[in-house]
Amino acid sequence: MARELYYHTLPARILHWINAANIGLLTTTGLYIRDPYHFPLFANMDIARKIHFIAMYLIIYGIVIRIYYSWVSKDYRELLFRFRDFKGFPALIRYYLFVSKTTPESGKYNAGQKLLYNAWAVLVFLQAVTGFSLYFPDALAGFVRALGGPVVLRQFHFILTWVFIVTVALHIYLSFLGGWSVIKSMITGYFPEGESMQPVSEDVEEVAEHCMKWH
């Protein structure tokens, strides 16, 4: 058996699945709240809303802890999308559009992944802003008004939901495309060496070691 690389630390994995569950619940309950007939996913409004209102707190905690963890474990070094990452895009796009055959070289995460994961933090923040304005229409009335009123916020909240759905779908698709090893790595933490979706450059291992210490 090939040597396995410790790829995802336990806290990262736990947080990943907590956040995934919350996003899943928020999206499904959200769709139900919007339109119970077309998205008959829950027994009734009461349950859907209660789940939504619990999960909305949890997703915020989840994201905040993930960011905190990223800071203490230093894995933001490979997660944070930086300006220079733009350089990685052309090759990546060529690869995804079947123009070039070779997987572009990058760090642990490629430019697209970084952008996506960072964007989710921003999206959750936006959902929290719009969502809490809907949740506290009186306490936040002035704020709601400044943002264009509840109707506008509700639409915005809903459109962002679809951004989540699309990006999460993309994420899941790419993970499956990566195969079982990719998915397994998020469960066990280990990823078979050599069988990478993208060639891993040197400094990743250093970070992985650092994480291991933490772990």
């Binding site: 007939y37 009186d138 459109i159 495309l177």
Partner: protein, 354 residues
């Protein structure tokens, strides 16, 4: 006295300006007895802008107190277009005179929005004694500064309402966009409940301005969402929705805007507790909300539409479109992966080739 000839009339007009200015109202309240009862209370000047005047009609529906008590014992209504006997320039001059005499004291009530287009020429309310047309804007500029309090009655006066519905050719605005916001008390509603008007006036006279929310509405009436006090809330929570007119159940699917509109309709009830919108299976159309009617339309559909440059589409169409596009995109990509041999049986072949 009642029968006067021309000479006497002219004398009356010129010599006793005070009698003219005293009051223009023909309602019998305006006698000495009344003056004593409501004496000392700041007089109220009520003017109408771009509106259907349904707010005034609604005021007449006040029950406790009724119109008689209201006008003879509670408020000193000195001017109201529907109750004023003066016509023509007497109307305008009388209005100005009352305002001047009570400078800094009177309460100005405005019903209706203010059309700004064509410098206000789309709404001239009369002519003064010099024969000059007076626009609503002229009038407001002239007297609003000397009002002690200003009250916007109805959604038109508060936020523009129906008068300002897009495309808003007349460029109507609510009062707060016309004068400094902190001076205006908004009593929105299309029309507002008489209790909201009378109650606000009474509060103003007894205790000063009521506590207002961020939309300038008295919290005592607009403190809660319709939806939170709705008797059909159980139906909502249990997802029992009416789908056709005349059905029982929560009216969400028939377009109910109760979840966004503020007001105490479900508990106060309308027309001396006879009923209210949802009680007759009719959705709340959000008539007290600043977004009424532009964003609360369609009234009878769940989803307001999203307007973008060149597109008019429901949020769902956008959402579902995005979803379908994603599925199609990913599907195509998957196929691409398969045929280029990145995945599937050919994957190994390619590896063997290497």
């Amino acid at each position: 006295m009642a029968n006067i000839d021309r000479r006497q009339f002219l004398k009356l007009c010129t010599a006793s300006a005070a009698a003219v200015g005293l009051s223009q109202l023909w309602v019998p309240a305006i006698g000495e007895a009344y003056r004593k009862a409501a004496g000392g209370n700041p007089p109220i000047i009520w003017i109408q802008g771009s509106a259907c005047n349904g707010c005034s009609t609604s005021l007449v529906n006040t029950v406790h107190p009724d119109m008689r008590e209201l006008l003879s014992e509670i408020i000193d209504l000195s001017f109201h277009p529907g109750l004023s006997s003066g016509a023509g320039n007497l109307f305008i001059d009388g209005l100005y005179r009352i305002a001047t005499e009570n400078k800094g004291k009177f309460i100005l009530v405005v019903e209706g929005a203010i059309p700004l287009a064509h410098k206000g020429a789309l709404n001239t309310i009369g002519e003064d004694s010099s024969g000059k047309a007076v626009t609503l804007i002229d009038l407001l500029k002239n007297i609003s500064g000397s009002a002690r309090f200003i009250i916007a009655v109805g959604s038109c006066a508060s936020f523009g309402g129906i008068s300002a519905a897009e495309p808003n050719y007349a460029e109507c605005v609510g009062l707060e966009k016309f004068i400094e916001v902190n001076k205006v008390i908004n009593i929105p509603g299309c029309p507002p409940h008489p209790d909201w008007i009378v109650g606000t006036l009474a509060h103003l006279l007894l205790y000063g301005p009521p506590v207002l929310d961020d939309y300038g509405r008295p919290k005592m009436f607009y403190g809660g969402l319709i939806h939170n006090n709705c008797p059909r809330r159980q139906y909502f929570d249990n997802s029992i929705f009416a789908k056709n007119f005349g059905e029982d159940g929560c009216l969400l699917y028939l377009g109910c805007k109760g979840p966004l509109a503020h007001g105490d309709c479900p508990t106060r009830l309308w027309n001396s507790t006879s009923s209210w919108c949802v009680d007759v299976n009719a959705p709340c159309i959000g008539c007290t909300d600043p977004s009424f009617p532009d964003l609360t339309m369609p009234f009878y559909k769940r989803m307001p539409e999203i307007k973008g440059p060149g597109i008019t589409s429901t949020a769902d169409a956008i959402g579902i479109g995005l979803g379908v596009a994603t599925a199609a995109g990913l599907g195509a990509h998957l196929a691409g992966n398969y045929f280029t041999g990145r995945i599937g049986p050919r994957k190994h072949k390619e590896e063997e080739d290497v």
